[in-house]
Symmetry: C2
């Protein structure tokens, strides 16, 4: 049997501890599968003494990640610390500069510094593997980077945040408010004490930025993403969506258009009979539309120590199965020199169907006024109806519109015109509709 | 740039022609992605003169596949002829014996000779890649063989035959008979003139045999598969399933049990609210349940020239990206010497829920008699009901039973006892229920 593959693991939180346990428990079968043993010879974490229920025997302890990356006698640096900046950033750079392969689960780091790190990996003949950084256990990076080689991708979209999907699923199934479901998610450990990063879509945006680069061969542009969270989604929206044959999901969508690439994260109505509409709870899903392959949808656990560790282990095993320096899989699908600049398509130019919910004063002529505003902005309507399911004030009624494909700018103008008429009660709700191909 | 990767392509049918076209059209971008050009330098097909709308310039013509595999100056032998026996079998052996990598889409060949070919590949340091052989464009081989390294898999199941899924979907959506939908499938080119191989489950069985070996680390056992086709599924079954909250799909299922590994292909009721139940038409889906990762479901095109060519191209690209002889990915996940013999779990021992549809004479005591037969065989019932949706004769009624988890043997005994009572009209229908984890 060949020489062992030597790992240095930085970060021993849930994922790191899970990885250490699996590597120890399955040492022999992994050696058989990979053709050589995999050994953790160096570790670092914030606290040395903490009981993690795993043995660190045989691994050299380093007090900081950068020293480990610089000095440890290892083949692969496994970065499981998280965070876009130091120590993760400097440690990964130090490892790549030495020609060490890097395996990381750190979406924030890649979204912020992915291009620089990919270039550094190339220069030094190292691999930069990051399957765990997007959609946890779902092998979406491998599918795009390897399986779909040669395909031109037109759209990538998915449910990439378990917290949001859990909340939206509970709201729909049990008729609870957003606030009640968020509390429940926090109680169960599906949401952080400060849930902003998840529910406002930032977490999804980080993952989307990575997928966009990989799918479209462009530089990562994490700041050029249109962002809308789920905190203003009401039960009324969810019920109206259900009545119309839709479900509401927080999607990240990257799409090739004539004016550039759209990157957007927002609550989205998807047809109830589509496969992605059935993805409930903390489960994630990613769909990829490509010209040769067609549409591929992958559904699986997007987070959790074990699922994430499984993805990290897959990345490590890929390295173990090849001879040192023998593979050249560019981090973002092609050499960084071949990646094109990202050209942002403005959200105003987005074309698609829209759901619009308006609470209006109950007076004659409102229907006609709304329909006129739509017509003046050349918006073709699929339906316009009074929605009676919700108890509304005596003086107010709810009107739901669904448009055929139109431009965001036209919708904004129409809504603004309606606002000017003075009969609106409260804020209008506008939700984009996303259809899988052939639906 | 490194030297070109030289391919010999045997078979220029739909998939072969599609591959040739893609390789020609995307020559430059593939060279950038893979770090070297990919060139077809040798080809063979049944007829040399046929117009396939592709150029064969620059490729040396061989009159037979075995000579090409033996003599051509190539790095990779791409086998797209199909068929379990010669010429595909001898040609692939000849290629592997020379240490050439082999990429194939041939499920029949692998189901019949996969172990021998994998061993030959190992001996000669060659790769045997066959992503296209199972579920077309869905990267299920890569997911199990690479991404899930280290996982212990408990169940693999899926919709792996587009013909059957198309027929079942049409029957459900339009209330048409099996025969009518089969004719429609034939007219649209989704079913062969002789559809036996698809509708009786043999095609699914070939694919399942390959997945079983890969997932469970056992020798391929294509003849040890319990097989039931869809030709006796009636509209009555589909409607009763819908009323009970299920859909009927032809599934291939491989499952680890205490008495061995179950491999079975049969019409199956899946819960309507599960993701796999929404997979309609010719689309395929494969689910994998693993102990570390959890459940992964992949949905995509299972056939078609382009989707299959995309999978073949992914396999070729993997080879192009690594230096010659640098990778050691064993064909079935681990060295053939480490694969265990396949131990078959008998279908009689299968444990699960059952749907039973009985047409009975309309006389007093029938309900009680059926319930007693179930009780005597220790079968616990979830429901027993008279199903009135279908027009039945005046003297007959339809009774539908759904059982809790029970053993196949008990169900068979109970049905046999009921048969002995003399009130059955026609044949009883028994359909197994399969539930995704956590459903």
């Amino acid at each position: 049997m060949a020489e062992a593959l030597k790992l240095g693991v930085a970060g021993l939180g849930t994922v790191g501890a899970s990885l250490m346990r699996i590597l120890a428990e399955r040492r022999e079968s992994l050696a058989t599968t990979c053709g050589r043993p995999i050994e953790v010879v160096a570790v670092t974490a914030r606290s040395r003494g903490k009981d993690r229920g795993i043995s660190l025997d045989g691994a050299k302890w380093f007090d900081d990640a950068v020293s480990l990356a610089r000095e440890a006698d290892i083949d692969v640096f496994v970065e499981l610390m998280g965070g876009a900046e130091d120590p993760a950033y400097s440690a990964v750079k130090a490892a790549l500069a030495r020609g060490l392969h890097v395996v990381t689960a750190n979406k924030a780091l890649l979204a912020a510094h992915g291009m620089e790190l990919a270039a550094l990996a190339e220069e030094n003949g190292a691999l930069l593997n990051y399957e765990a950084a997007v959609a946890g256990g779902i092998p979406v990076i491998k599918a795009i980077r390897e399986s779909m080689t040669g395909n031109t991708i037109s759209r990538v979209y998915g449910i990439m945040n378990g917290t949001c999907n859990y909340i939206l699923t509970r709201m729909e199934k049990e008729g609870l408010t957003f606030e009640a479901c968020l509390k429940e998610a926090q109680r169960l450990g599906y949401a952080e004490a400060d849930p902003t990063f998840d529910i406002e879509g930032n977490d999804t945006a980080h993952k989307l930025a990575i997928l966009t680069s990989l799918a479209f061969g462009t530089a990562i542009a994490p700041d050029d993403i249109y962002l809308e969270g789920i905190s203003n989604i009401s039960i009324e929206d969810i019920q109206a969506a259900a009545d119309l044959g839709y479900r509401i999901k927080l999607l990240g969508v990257a799409q090739r258009t004539e004016s550039g690439i759209e990157q957007r994260v927002h609550p989205t109505m998807v047809p109830q009979n589509s496969v992605i509409a059935q993805v409930d709870g903390v489960t994630n899903a990613v769909a990829i539309e490509a010209d040769i392959l067609g549409e591929l949808l992958m559904v699986g656990p997007g987070a959790g120590g074990n699922a994430t560790a499984s993805a990290v282990l897959g990345d490590i095993a890929d390295i173990a199965k090849s001879r040192p320096g023998a593979q050249r899989v560019p981090a973002f699908g092609q050499p960084t020199s071949a990646l094109r600049p990202y050209r942002r398509a403005q959200i105003q130019n987005h074309e698609g169907g829209y759901f619009i919910r308006l609470k209006v004063q109950d007076r004659t002529g409102v229907f006609a006024s709304i329909a006129t505003a739509m017509a003046r902005n050349e918006i073709s309507l699929e339906s316009i109806m009074q929605h009676s399911k919700q108890p509304t004030d005596e003086q107010a009624q709810t009107i739901i519109l669904v448009t055929h494909a139109t431009h965001e700018e036209q919708v904004r103008k129409a809504v603004s015109a309606i606002r000017g008429e003075g009969y609106l009660v409260g804020e209008p709700q506008v939700i984009r509709i996303e259809r899988p191909k052939d639906n």
